[in-house]
Symmetry: C2
Subunit: 107 residues, 2 copies
Amino acid sequence: MKRNYDENAKIIKALSDPSRLKIIDILSCGEKCACDILQYFDFTQPTLSHHMKVLMECGIVECRKEGLWSYYSLNSSNCNKLILFLMNLVTDTDECICKDKAKCECK
Amino acid sequence: MKRNYDENAKIIKALSDPSRLKIIDILSCGEKCACDILQYFDFTQPTLSHHMKVLMECGIVECRKEGLWSYYSLNSSNCNKLILFLMNLVTDTDECICKDKAKCECK
DNA sequence: ATTTTACATAGATAGTTATCTATATAAAGG
DNA sequence: CCTTTATATAGATAACTATCTATGTAAAAT
């Protein structure tokens, strides 16, 4: 981490948006497709697409394509100490943000 | 922390700039006045003043005035879990960035 | 084949921000 | 007093970004 200011600033910047923090929170329940994530927000589908791209470019989120659907999930395995901590911080609770608990893997 | 997306995004955003990460690194050696901090950068004095203001508004840094000088230091006591972690992450090394080790409190 | 559906991309725009120059402030020295 | 010095503030600007509408793409359904 030390002295690698530019690269780390880029990762931190990806997490410096309230909508993206909320996306991480949502994905902490497990994999979700884009249209499911979108229901938690007021913005449009292209805007979500933009946020997912930012999160993926930093390795925070990964995507699995299946037919028409794109399933997104937190990519802990690819995460460094910083990302892991921030993800845990945002999602550190027993209560899941997801309304449909049957569909998600809430603890 | 949970669900407080806006406030936390603001703190994370304050840390999402490479110059401000470097300032935190510099201050990890201990209190320094603005003109000393400025020597580590190529930008102008008003730009540093701007960055210090951003860091202070989030409680990451505090300022002590003495005569003409403004002495800045990391404000760990006022920090939440997030800020503390990020500060430790940036400064987690034995090697100090400061050239003049006689003047700073490097471990 | 045509339509529908899920998502991405292109391009525009308004708001934010990192930087600059110029100037203000205020303390210290001569 | 006047000058010097350290820092802050004001205002401008260029770059970046979060958002939108419009459109492209590609898989599935009819």
